[in-house]
C-alpha cells in the first residue's frame, strides 16, 4: 500500500527493526504513514505490539516470499 515513508530493516534482527521504527516515528506527525519492510518474521509480532503500546495503528501487514511488510499510521 502507498505510505508517506518507508523503512528498510532487511537483515536486521528484532528488536532492531522495532527500535528503528520507534526512532523514525518519533520524528513524524500524527496521521503520517510508514511502511516497514524486514526479513525477520519477528516484526509481524513486535511492530504491532509496539504500535498497541504506543497508540499507533497497524494498517496492513503482509508477507511476500521471505520478506515481511507492516504499514502503520502514527497516532496522536
Amino acid at each position: 500500500m502507498e505510505t508517506q515513508h518507508s523503512l528498510d530493516t532487511r537483515n536486521l534482527l528484532c528488536p532492531l527493526p522495532v527500535i528503528r521504527t520507534q526512532n523514525l516515528v518519533k520524528t513524524l506527525n500524527p496521521g503520517e504513514t510508514v511502511e516497514v519492510v524486514g526479513t525477520d518474521p519477528g516484526i509481524m509480532n513486535d511492530i504491532p505490539a509496539w504500535c498497541r503500546i504506543n497508540g499507533h495503528e497497524v494498517l496492513e501487514s503482509t508477507t511476500i516470499e521471505n520478506e515481511y511488510f507492516v504499514c502503520l499510521k502514527v497516532g496522536d
Binding site: L13, T39, D40, G42, N54
Partner: protein, 348 residues
C-alpha cells in the same frame, strides 16, 4: 510534591522486572518502562533465523511485559556504548563473558540519564533485582555498589527485596509504602511465581541462566575465539550477530568458516555475502559458507572441501563449489573432506 510520582522501570522482559514494575504501579505511581538493546539480548534472534525454531514464540518479551502493564516502553539502542562494558569490565566477568555487575551499573546509569532529562519528569528508578538471585550481580554486597557507581544512589528502588535494603528516596518521600514492598532473597523462584499468580500473570518468560548470550558458554567461546584471532578485543554488531548463526569452524588460525546449518541460516548469511568471501556447492544442494579471514589458494580449497562435506554431495567423488571473492565468481571442483578429517579442535 503535588504531581503523581513517576518511575522509570528497567524492563528486561523477565518475570522479576514485570513484578517490580507492577508493585510500584499498584501504589499509584506512574510507571514507564525502558529496555536496553546491547546486541547480546536473548530475544527472537536465532528463532527468527532457524527454520526449526520458527514455530516458537517470536514475541519480544519486553514489549509483552509493557502490554501487560499497559505502560509505554522506551527501547534504547546501546550497542556502541556497551562495547566498553563487554571489553573492559571493571568488575570482571561472571562464569562466561558476562560482565553482569558492570552491565547493571551501566544500565542503571543510563536510566538515570532519563531521570535527569527534564522532558520526562521521572523521580526514581525501579529494577527487578533480588538479593542472592544471581551469583555475580545480585548479591547483598553488590546492591549498594550498583546504586553508588551508577550515581542513582537512593533513587534506585528494588521492590522485590527492598525490605532487606536501606530505605530509599521514594520510600522516605512517601511516594511508595515500604510495608507493601517485599523481602525476597535467594534463588528460589516460588515467591515470585506466587506473586505473579496473585497479579494474574501467566505465560511470562522464564529465561534460563541469564538475559543475554554472554552467559552462554558456547557463545562466549566463539566470542573469545574472535578476539584471539583478531589479536584484540573488538567487535561490531555484525560480528556478534554472526556468532549466533551456523557452524563456526577454524581450520587454521588465520581464517574461520561460518557454515549455514539449514535454509533459514542460508538466507540470513546471504545478507553478508558482500562483506565476506563466500562459497556454496552448485553441483549438489548445500550450505552457504562465509569465510572470515584472508585465505590462500590452499585455504580456499580446504574451505570448499569442508563446505562440500556438509552438502548433499558428501559421498560424491567431486562437488563443484562456487566461490565469490572480492566480487569475482569462480568454481572449484573438490572432493568432500571425509568426516574423520574434520578435526574436532577446528569446531568452535
Amino acid at each position: 510534591m503535588n504531581k503523581t510520582p513517576k518511575a522509570i522501570a528497567l524492563i528486561s522482559g523477565g518475570l522479576d522486572s514485570l513484578l517490580a514494575a507492577k508493585i510500584i504501579q499498584e501504589q499509584g505511581v506512574t510507571v514507564e518502562g525502558i529496555n536496553f538493546f546491547t546486541g547480546f539480548c536473548v530475544e527472537g534472534h536465532t528463532h527468527a533465523i532457524r527454520k526449526k525454531d520458527q514455530n516458537k514464540s517470536k514475541r519480544n518479551n519486553a514489549l509483552w511485559v509493557a502490554e501487560q502493564l499497559n505502560i509505554p516502553l522506551h527501547l534504547v539502542d546501546i550497542i556502541e556504548e556497551y562495547k566498553d562494558i563487554v571489553i573492559n569490565p571493571k568488575h570482571g566477568y561472571g562464569a562466561n563473558l558476562n560482565p553482569c555487575l558492570d552491565c547493571k551499573i551501566f544500565m542503571v546509569s543510563k536510566a538515570l540519564e532519563w531521570i535527569e532529562c527534564s522532558d520526562y519528569e521521572f523521580d526514581f528508578i525501579v529494577t527487578g533485582e533480588v538479593i542472592g538471585q544471581r551469583p555475580m550481580s545480585q548479591r547483598k554486597e553488590t546492591m549498594p555498589v550498583i546504586a553508588e557507581q551508577s550515581g542513582a544512589n537512593d533513587r534506585l528502588l528494588r521492590p522485590l527485596c527492598a525490605k532487606n535494603l536501606p530505605e530509599t528516596l521514594p520510600e522516605r518521600m512517601g511516594w511508595v509504602d515500604r510495608d507493601q514492598l517485599f523481602d525476597f532473597s535467594g534463588r528460589n523462584r516460588k515467591p515470585q511465581m506466587a506473586l505473579a499468580r496473585q497479579f494474574g500473570f501467566d505465560d511470562y518468560a522464564q529465561p534460563a541462566g541469564g538475559c543475554c548470550f554472554l552467559t552462554d558458554q558456547n557463545y562466549a567461546t566463539k566470542l573469545a575465539d574472535l578476539w584471539q584471532a583478531r589479536g584484540e578485543k573488538t567487535y561490531e554488531l555484525d560480528d556478534i550477530m554472526l556468532l549466533k548463526v551456523g557452524r563456526h569452524i577454524r581450520p587454521k588460525p588465520h581464517f574461520k568458516l561460518i557454515v549455514a546449518r539449514e535454509e533459514g541460516e542460508n538466507r540470513f548469511l546471504q545478507g553478508y555475502k558482500k562483506q565476506f568471501t563466500s562459497m556454496q556447492p552448485v553441483s549438489h544442494g548445500g550450505p552457504l559458507t562465509l569465510l572470515d579471514g584472508v585465505p590462500t589458494d590452499d585455504d580456499l580449497k580446504l574451505a570448499a572441501q569442508i563446505t562440500a562435506r556438509y552438502s548433499q554431495g558428501r559421498d560424491a567423488d567431486s562437488v563443484t563449489v562456487e566461490v565469490i571473492m572480492n566480487g569475482q565468481s569462480s568454481e572449484l571442483h573438490v572432493s568432500p573432506l571425509p568426516a574423520q578429517d574434520v578435526m574436532s579442535e577446528w569446531m568452535i
